[in-house]
């Protein structure tokens, strides 16, 4: 267990350092999400009531598309100079690399959400009528659902010729239950019309199932030829 923790920590710190130096993922995600916010705000002119009803969908679709940009970058670094082979010949557990990548992406998307949420609030005149603290839980669970599958499928599409197209094709269908739960929970909290608890539990269950599945299958994906 400590081997997994140590290697995961080393890989995560390496990824954060590389991202800090290049800012490839963060910059492209922020730019993309910003465009979505601005374009949507010009396209619609909703009232505060309408905003609360549609904002959940808008926000999470923007985050989903922006996250795909980062997810595509996740493994690109490991392909340059075939660095992944150095990992594969080492005794380091495959799961440690997966966890490091997933946590790294989680941090990147959370940073994106931190920057973008105030903009959404301003542009769409948002104010939660339900328990606002639940937004933090939904945000954490929704983001993890997004990145855990995204990291896995990005690794799966690593050796395909058009991997940037493959990732959304694989990721979006499998993310539908998580996206639905996240959007519904966000809408419930913003409008205060109904309780978000069912959707939060669904999201948590989704995360447990898919995190376990990804951890069990990642070794096969990493060592596939």
């Amino acid at each position: 267990m400590s081997a997994i923790t140590n290697v995961a920590r080393a890989s995560l710190s390496k990824d954060l350092r590389l991202e800090w130096r290049s800012k490839d993922a963060i910059n492209s995600m922020l730019f993309f999400a910003l465009l979505v916010v601005v374009i949507f705000s010009f396209s619609f002119d909703p009232t505060a009531e309408e905003s609360r009803r549609i904002a959940g969908g808008l926000v999470w679709v923007a985050f989903l598309f922006a996250a795909v940009v980062a997810l595509n970058q996740t493994w690109a670094r490991e392909l340059r100079n075939q660095v992944l082979d150095a990992y594969r010949v080492s005794p380091a557990p495959a799961n440690a690399l997966f966890l490091a990548k997933a946590f790294g992406n989680f941090i990147f998307v959370i940073v994106l959400e931190t920057f973008m949420t105030p903009l959404f609030i301003v542009f769409y005149n948002l104010r939660a009528l339900g328990p606002a603290y639940q937004l933090l839980i939904v945000s954490a669970l929704g983001t993890w659902a997004l990145v855990v599958n995204g990291t896995f499928f990005a690794a799966m599409s690593l050796r395909t010729r058009s991997r940037e197209i493959m990732l959304p094709l694989l990721l979006f269908p499998i993310s539908i239950p998580a996206l639905l739960a996240t959007v519904e929970a966000t809408t419930a909290i913003l409008t205060g019309d109904f309780s978000a608890k069912f959707w939060i539990v669904l999201l948590a269950a989704y995360n447990v199932v898919f995190t376990t599945a990804c951890l069990l299958l990642f070794d096969t994906v990493l060592n596939a030829e």
Binding site: A3, N6, V7, A10, S11, K14, R17, L18, R21, S22, R77, R80, N81, Q82, V83, D85, A86, Y87, R88, V89, S90, P91, A92, E225
Partner: protein, 228 residues
Amino acid sequence: MNHVSHAAATPIIVIHDLVKQFGRFAALRGVSAEFVSGRLYAIVGENGAGKTTLLRSLAGLTRPTRGTISMLGTTDLRSVCRQVGYMAHPSLLYDEMAGMENLRYFARLYGIQDDERCAATITAVGLDPTLTRPVGQYSQGMRQRMSLARAMIHDPRILLLDEPFSNVDAHSARQMTHLLKQLRDAGKTIFVVTHQASQLEHAADEFVQMEAGLITRRTRELMMAETP
């Protein structure tokens, strides 16, 4: 065939009927060989002879279509990966990080948390561990040496080196050869895939000639093995 006899020594690697196919192309076509420890083997042959595929198979990166590889008495190569160091044709290094940062990371993968050991390994390959510029800005020769340091960081018993002398100037190549001789004398078993077999003329214990996915000749003399 001029086979070298190893009757007295126990083989550290035994390859039996190794076949590797990529689609309809057979990169290895039934390779069988034994290699003893503490020797420096130069694997030579023309492009497409199967040298790199053989090395990747030994490293456990390529799964054989048929046949077996027994290393250190086991066919489970994963279980002996701590005893194997692999240097590929690409550097297997992060261009954006300094040499020391790279080595520190790869050392962690082997459970090594010792910065002094990383620095000593970098010094052993003739580089300065205090260099702060990223590996992407190194010369090709420096990158090759850093790549060798990465393969050596966990002090493996077997070193698999793919084209360590490519794009390296004559002086650096001589230094690397000297280092490989030292490692061999320290008991390491070293496999060097190279097109510049003359670099190893006075260092290699054996030249292993490959042609069309087969080992066709194993000699002690370069002249008999080197391809035109």
